[in-house]
């Protein structure tokens, strides 16, 4: 069964550094998403992406965040200048037709900011 993959599984970085989290969505999917989960808290929506542009973003997704689909397979989340409070598990998801289609989640990248 096709699945969403994410790399790396764990990223440790210093505060103020830039990080790029990578995701490979399911190949025929059209909608892509990033979520995050701070330890012990809820899974929170960050951004959705369709047709090479952001279709929705939450209040969390401020100017330090950006997303990109640089080629036909990868979907990346960049955090420009990391803060301690960015430490979380970041999940990528993709869905086929968007709307109410099932979102398939990757295993997540645990980001630790020191």
């Amino acid at each position: 069964e096709p699945e969403v993959t994410q790399t790396p599984s764990h990223q440790v970085t210093q505060m103020g550094q830039e990080v790029i989290l990578r995701c490979v969505p399911i190949s025929n999917h059209l909608y892509f998403y990033w979520y995050r989960q701070i330890l012990g808290q809820k899974v929170e929506f960050l951004v959705s992406f369709y047709n090479n542009e952001i279709s929705e973003k939450s209040e969390i997704f401020d100017d330090q965040f950006s997303v990109e689909r640089p080629d036909g397979s990868n979907f990346t989340l960049k955090i420009r200048s990391t803060k301690l409070e960015d430490s979380a598990m970041y999940f990528c998801a993709s869905s086929g037709r968007g709307s109410t289609d099932t979102q398939y989640f990757g295993p997540g990248t645990r980001l630790t900011v020191l």
Partner: protein, 116 residues
């Protein structure tokens, strides 16, 4: 704004016992409701979803959930738990965002511990 409450942070059951995980939601219109499971080191996997129709929804791995509008609940059940069911379970309510995307709002999750 939509929200989800999972009142139980941890639930411990014996293998073979029945299970019910609670979920209450708040949403202004007819909700789309989901249950996801997350095993250690894995992503979120959809167990079942409710959009409309029969309020008792069957999912994968022997799980079912019942939508009760009067109680704003969508509790997850399984008649006989297996040790492999030990995982984190997330309830979510979906809603249309202003930009036209469909975004689920998740609860905090319930950790299921299964004793042999």
């Amino acid at each position: 704004a939509q929200s989800v409450t999972q009142p139980d942070i941890h639930i411990t059951v014996s293998e073979g016992a029945s299970l019910e995980l609670r979920c209450n939601y708040s949403y202004g219109a007819t909700p789309y409701l989901f249950w996801y499971v997350q095993s250690p080191g894995q992503g979120l996997q959809l167990l079942l979803k409710y959009f409309s129709g029969d309020t008792l929804v069957q999912g994968i791995k022997g799980f079912e959930a019942e939508f009760k509008r009067s109680q704003s609940s969508f509790n997850l059940r399984k008649p006989s738990v297996h040790w492999s069911d030990a995982a984190e379970y997330f309830c979510a309510v979906g809603g249309w965002a202003s930009g036209g995307s469909y975004i689920p709002t998740f609860g905090r999750g319930t950790s299921l511990i299964v004793h042999p």
